[in-house]
């Protein structure tokens, strides 16, 4: 005895203005009667901390319930009977009424470390008081509709960077400071989600042999203070040749990235508020709801170019946080705007 959901698209990606289509597949050994089949599509924002470090956050962990950003429900069948064997019941549910005010924001599906935006579709087959109702749930993915997307830029915007001992704000190995190093290159500052982060890099000089060069894609979720590494990609392994251009080519991880979400001034002030109050202020449920409903969170991305030099010291700290400033490490971080293109 089973009820299953099958969406029309295998990748389960839908735009808000598209109907969510699919079929309900039931398999019963004998025919059963029901009191209606109901389909529900919901969208929720979850704020959570996974093994976080901030004590404050922990205090409201568990307090905040998922915040609902969408809830649509339709009855697919009124009460009746379903025959034995396999039965397929097609459905179609409109997520956003056409012509409705577009100001209501449909966030894209996103699974971050602290924020996740998830859309689910659930089918319920009600069978009265005596029987447990049968149900099935499936996640579907929302992406911004094509019409609202930007045209892909002809040439992605690039920033030029150069990294020397002078651009570093933390302490470096003495040999590096005296001997010097210079790494130059350019890297995308805007990037379509479908494209890799591109650019190039040249080690022009280095007094200390290079251990590796990594590109870190940082995701900044502003609901809590801090950033997380979404991906880490080595582009050079070992002491590479000088003056040979290395390409930067980082494929964006699909579920860990989404278009940059910025809430403009409000967001900035909120973040600053958040910073100010992080130690003392515990938000109440209502305040959080308010916070979320007015686009109060942001998801931003940055790219770090991290050069690790060969050093005996590095071996002493094998499990060190790659973002932490270290004597044997030089880095440059540039902001990256991600957007979805047609």
């Amino acid at each position: 005895m089973s009820v299953e959901l099958k969406l029309s698209r295998s990748n389960r990606i839908y735009c808000p203005n598209e109907p969510l289509e699919g079929k309900i597949v039931t398999k019963f050994p004998s025919s059963i009667s029901h009191q209606g089949i109901r389909l529900t599509a919901t969208g929720t924002v979850n704020l959570q901390v996974r093994g976080g470090t901030a004590g404050v956050i922990e205090s409201f962990y568990g307090v905040i319930k998922p915040i609902c950003i969408m809830n649509k429900s339709v009855e697919v069948r009124s009460s009746g009977k379903i025959g034995s064997g396999t039965t397929e019941i097609p459905f179609s549910i409109i997520l956003r009424q056409p012509g409705q005010d577009n100001s209501e924001r449909f966030y894209e599906t996103f699974h971050g470390a602290n924020i996740s935006i998830q859309y689910l579709v659930t089918v319920d087959l009600m069978r009265g008081y005596l029987h447990k109702s049968l149900s099935a749930t499936m996640e579907f993915i929302i992406e911004t509709e094509k019409a609202n997307l930007l045209e892909a830029p002809v040439a992605p915007e690039m920033v030029i960077f150069y990294i020397t001992q002078d651009t570093q704000r933390h302490q470096l190995l003495p040999e590096l400071l005296s001997g010097g190093f210079r790494i130059t290159g350019k890297i995308s500052s805007q990037c379509s989600l479908l494209d890799p982060i591109s650019g190039e890099l040249t080690v022009e000089a280095s007094a200390v042999p290079i251990c590796s060069i990594d590109i870190h894609l940082l995701r900044v979720e502003s609901i809590i203070f801090g950033e997380r590494i979404a991906t880490e990609t080595t582009i050079a392994d070992g002491d590479v040749c000088r003056n040979m251009t290395l390409p930067i080519y980082v494929v964006l991880p699909r579920l860990l990235t989404c278009p940059t979400v910025l809430a403009g001034l409000t967001s900035v002030s909120l973040i600053s508020l958040h910073i100010e109050k992080r130690d003392v202020y515990v938000w109440q449920q209502e305040e959080w709801r308010h916070f979320v409903e007015y686009s109060p969170f942001s998801i931003e991305f940055r790219v770090s170019i991290v050069i690790s030099f060969q050093s005996e010291l590095s071996k002493l700290y094998p499990k060190t946080d790659p973002k932490a400033p270290r004597l044997w490490r030089a880095m440059e971080t540039v902001p990256l705007e991600l957007f979805r293109t047609k």
Partner: protein, 991 residues
């Protein structure tokens, strides 16, 4: 019992076939047809070139100095000798079939290369995948990990990831493959193994193992996505992708899956596994883009991030392999690859950067490990390419600036493999610039002399214009004369020798030999140097038509003397081969030299330990040489030479036979030469006599004794001849004592020797002192006493004795010794009754035994046939009587009573009346008459015995054989006819 009288000359005239002169001598045609053969092949131009090369190549199998240092998937890369083949005597038509195969393969190979463009992608792909498979095998073999590599501390990666690898190889089972995610994870682990280069020697083997696994992943992903693009979820096929499908042919679902794979691989943190896995699924880009080749350029760039030279070299190798699957494929990325490799290797070869372990040793190891990659990529670059010039420009060597500008720093090993792939024409047209380039790139990555050597071979392949040859050779000699080491000197000279010979640059030839002699003499030659020397000698020998010209070269013999071991043997073999090919050898110094060479060859062969085949060739060659020596009129000298040979080559049996033959030949020659005294003949015979006992094969000994005995007889030396025959017989008698029991006796051989003795005895004058039948009796006692002699052999020997006795009893023997001083028995014993009696008594004792011996033969069929054989022998040797039935005898008696025979008419009438009176129809008139006459003519009692034996034999045969047996029938007929024949004769003579 009475011997039948025979007229041999009449019989010969009656039975021989008429002789007709043949139009062509079957052996004489050989030389002309060979020329034709040569010519035909010559016309085929290039094919022939390859043909000769392959022949040459076969011959130089041992000479692998080059092959050892370089890899070539086709065997013939180096065997390039563009000799003037018209004069090439080396060519052996008997080798044709063998070498033809090689040609065929090679030509096919060549065709497939040239037509590859027209082949379908699929076939070309399969072809290149085959090449790759053999390349991998080569890698595994060349860098076999079976040797122990001592490692001070096992790196973590190996230990940890070793487990991962085990796991993944076991997880290669099908059920695991259902979960592509998991599979890919395992593959990442496997690919990570390649990040570890701590034990350099392991790397190639590791590479092969790992790439095997991830290739499998690549194939699976390809199949999976292709399936998605062709089949709907429910398994129905909705489209069939053509070979050259476009990205637009692919449904979005399949594209999505494909994109997912690239995302998954793109998110691998480490650079090396990320590149490897993307390469593995590289062909899948075709599902997404129409220009998937564009990715290669990026991947080449990404590899620059791999700082470890070995890891990055092998990564490029893998790319070259994977890119083959993207056909058609431009070679831009490969060029970029080579240019990057040069930048990567430059600091290492120039010593600016310290490699692991900091030593030159390690650097060299690194180079040798990287070499297959350079070679493979060069091969890919020049694969079916016609724009060689463009490639050179792209590689930075083009003629756009100052033609192969020497300013471009080049690495020896890269240069080598580039040159190796360049067509000979291109090398020729840029020879001088290339020389300059080689001169500039002298580093430890590859021995510079091998590059010079390579140019030498290329020039032989297609000979450039004379001025270029001169300039290049001058340059090379200038460089090479600086070399102190013999090895490198030889390696280069070996390559240029052909061109020096062909262009007849004699002064250079002298320089080469001088140079070798200066460096080689007074020191021990190393193994690899021997290989080069061997090749040089073989080239010289092949070039000179006349061996004496080669011997006349400065230092030739001196250099030959410094060689040793198997190379020396090979060269010696070649010399002897050549020496014995062109007819007799007459020059005494050449003979002396060849004798010494033979001696060296003989001493170099371990006759006790070698396989039969290995020692046969030298033994045969030495024998052939001894055979071909000819001192002309100076026969004494020749005999002395034979004596020397006997001393020197004691262990070659074959040779001793040759010596005996030759000395016998000398004796005959001396006899023909009227001036020669008998003493020399005696010397020759004595030499033979002394030599024969040392031959191990008994039958050979017997035959040689007989041959010598015949020669002695021819020389009138009857007592010598007797002695030799005695030796032969005692040899025969000692048979069972010496020849081991394990070898079954060669019965036919013994029989033929016995028959030979018998036929010789026809000529040998009987010795009255010992009795004329002394020898016959010894043979008889031998065959009847030895238990190992089979009944068959015994019967045949008895028959031979009977035949001989019958022959000796004739008034005129069928043949005589070709010497007037030697009288035959027919003249010696004219009218001597005791002589005939003795012969008859020998035959008589034979006949007594005959039936008993035949009964001993176990096999029925054999028994029947030897009975017939014996019967035939007896019938042709003796007069046969006629067995009369009692009624017939009665009849005859009546006739005799009735008739008083006075004339023929009455006689006939009388017979017919008797005949009528008896009313019998059994006999014809003629036969009746003949029977009567028979009885009247001869003594019926004597030949009655013979008739009895014959009829017994026929009975035995009838009991053993089918009545329809042809042999039986013909024997019965013969018997009948013989009796009729001589009875008719009797009738006619009585008239």
């Amino acid at each position: 019992m009475e011997f039948r009288a025979r007229d041999y000359s009449a019989e010969e005239a009656a039975y021989s076939l008429p002789r007709v002169r043949a139009d062509n001598h079957p052996l004489a045609t050989r030389s002309s047809s060979r020329q034709l053969f040569d010519h035909d092949h010559y016309r085929e131009g290039k094919t022939l070139l390859v043909f000769f090369d392959s022949v040459r190549y076969l011959d130089m199998l041992e000479e692998t100095a080059i092959a050892a240092s370089s890899f070539s998937s086709r065997g013939l890369t180096y065997s390039v000798d563009a000799k003037d083949h018209k004069n090439n005597d080396f060519f052996d038509p008997l080798r044709g079939p063998n070498a033809n195969v090689a040609v065929f393969e090679d030509v096919q190979d060549g065709q497939s290369t040239s037509t590859r463009g027209r082949l379908s992608n699929e076939t070309a792909l399969q072809l290149s995948m085959k090449e790759w498979a053999s390349f991998k095998r080569f890698l595994m073999q060349k860098f076999s990990v079976s040797k122990t590599v001592s490692i001070s501390s096992m790196s973590d990666v190996i230990v940890k990831s070793g487990k991962a690898y085990d796991k993944s190889s076991t997880s290669m089972h099908l059920e695991e493959l259902d979960d592509p995610q998991k599979f890919a994870e395992e593959d990442v682990k496997v690919a990570k193994l390649l990040m570890d280069t701590s034990v350099l020697q392991f790397y190639p083997a590791l590479f092969v193992l790992v790439t095997d696994v991830i290739d499998m992943l690549g194939d699976m992903v390809w199949e999976r996505i292709k399936r998605k693009a062709e089949y709907a979820e429910n398994g129905t096929k909705f489209c069939s992708l053509p070979d050259n499908f476009k990205a637009s042919d692919i449904c979005s679902d399949a594209k999505e899956t494909c994109y997912n794979w690239f995302c998954k691989i793109g998110s691998i943190r480490e650079l090396l596994p990320r590149i490897y896995l993307e390469l593995a699924i590289l062909p899948c880009w075709r599902f997404l883009h129409n220009q998937p080749q564009d990715c290669l350029q990026r991947l080449v760039m990404m590899m620059r991030g791999l700082a470890d030279p070995l890891a990055s070299a092998y990564c490029r190798l893998y790319m070259a392999h994977c890119a083959q699957k993207l056909q058609p494929c431009d070679r831009g990325y490969l060029i970029a690859c080579v240019n990057d490799i040069k930048i990567l290797l430059m600091p290492i070869v120039s010593g600016n950067v310290t490699t692991k372990g900091n030593s030159l040793e390690n650097g060299k190891l690194l180079m040798s490990l990287s070499e297959p990659m350079i070679e493979w990529i060069m091969k890919c670059i020049f694969k079916d390419s016609s724009q060689v010039e463009d490639i050179l420009v792209e590689l930075g060597l083009g003629r756009n600036q100052s033609k192969f500008s020497g300013t471009f720093p080049s690495i020896s090993i890269v240069l080598h493999h580039l040159l190796k792939e360049l067509p000979a024409e291109v090398v020729n047209s840029n020879a001088l610039e290339i020389m300059h380039l080689i001169e500039c790139s002298n580093d430890f990555s590859f021995d510079q002399c091998l590059n010079y050597r390579l140019i030498g071979f290329k020039m032989c392949e297609r000979r450039p214009q004379m001025d270029i040859v001169n300039a290049v050779v001058a340059k090379v000699f200038q460089v090479v004369t600086q070399y102190d080491g013999l090895d490198e000197y030889l390696k280069v000279m070996d390559a240029y020798l052909d061109i020096v010979l062909q262009c007849q640059l004699d002064n250079y030839l002298t320089m080469i030999l001088d140079g070798i002699s200066k460096r080689a003499c007074n020191r021990r030659i190393a193994e690899n140097e021997l290989g080069s020397l061997q090749s040089i000698f073989i080239k010289l020998l092949t070039y000179f038509n006349d061996l004496e010209d080669a011997f006349a070269l400065n230092h030739f013999v001196k250099i030959l003397d410094v060689m040793y071991g198997s190379s020396r043997n090979v060269v010696n073999t070649h010399i002897l081969n050549k020496a014995t090919r062109n007819g007799y050898i007459r020059d005494p110094t050449t003979i002396q030299l060849l004798f010494e060479i033979s001696q060296a060859l003989h001493d170099g062969i371990d006759f006790s330990n070698m396989k039969e085949d290995d020692k046969q060739q030298p033994a045969r060659l030495i024998s052939r040489f001894v055979q071909m020596v000819d001192y002309g009129a100076d026969m004494e000298h020749h005999l002395t030479f034979l004596v020397e040979c006997r001393g020197a080559f004691g262990s070659i049996n074959e040779l001793k036979e040759t010596l005996v033959h030759t000395s016998n030949y000398l004796a005959i020659k001396a006899m023909k030469d009227a001036n020669k005294i008998l003493n020399f003949v005696k010397c020759c015979i004595a030499f033979s006599e002394v030599t024969i006992p040392s031959i191990s094969a008994r039958i050979g000994q017997i035959n040689l004794y007989l041959e010598t005995a015949e020669v002695a007889l021819l020389g009138g030396l009857v007592s010598h001849s007797d002695g030799l025959i005695d030796s032969a017989i005692s040899c025969l008698q000692n048979f069972d004592l010496t020849d081991g029991s394990q070898v079954p006796f060669d019965m036919d051989g013994i029989l033929s020797s016995i028959r030979k003795i018998c036929s010789l005895l026809v000529m040998v004058p009987g010795n009255p002192e010992r009795g004329v039948t002394y020898i016959l009796r010894s043979i008889l006692s031998f065959v009847s006493s030895e238990s190992w002699i089979t009944p068959r052999l015994r019967i045949r020997t008895l028959c031979a004795i009977v035949s001989l006795s019958a022959t000796l009893s004739q008034n005129k023997l069928p043949y005589h010794a070709n010497n007037i001083e030697v009288l035959g028995n027919d003249l010696l014993f004219v009218g001597d009754p005791s002589y005939h009696q003795e012969l008859a008594s020998v035959s008589g004792s034979v006949l007594q035994n005959l039936i008993d011996v035949i009964q001993q033969e176990p096999s029925r069929a054999a028994r029947g046939s030897i009975a017939l054989e014996a019967c035939n022998c007896i019938v042709s040797s003796f007069k046969v009587g006629y067995m009369l039935l009692p009624t017939q005898l009665e009849l005859i008696k009546q006739i005799l009573q009735l008739l008083n025979l006075s004339n023929w008419e009455i006689f006939k009438e009388a017979i017919s009346s008797v005949w009528k009176a008896h009313g019998t129809h059994a006999w014809s008139l003629e036969s009746t008459m003949l029977i009567i006459l028979t009885i009247c003519e001869s003594n019926p009692l004597v030949n009655h015995e013979i008739a009895q034996i014959c009829s017994k034999l026929v009975e035995i045969a009838k009991s053993c054989l089918n009545a329809n047996d042809k042999y039986l029938q013909s024997t019965v007929n013969f018997l009948d006819k013989q009796s009729t024949f001589w009875r008719a004769t009797a009738v006619i003579t009585s008239q």
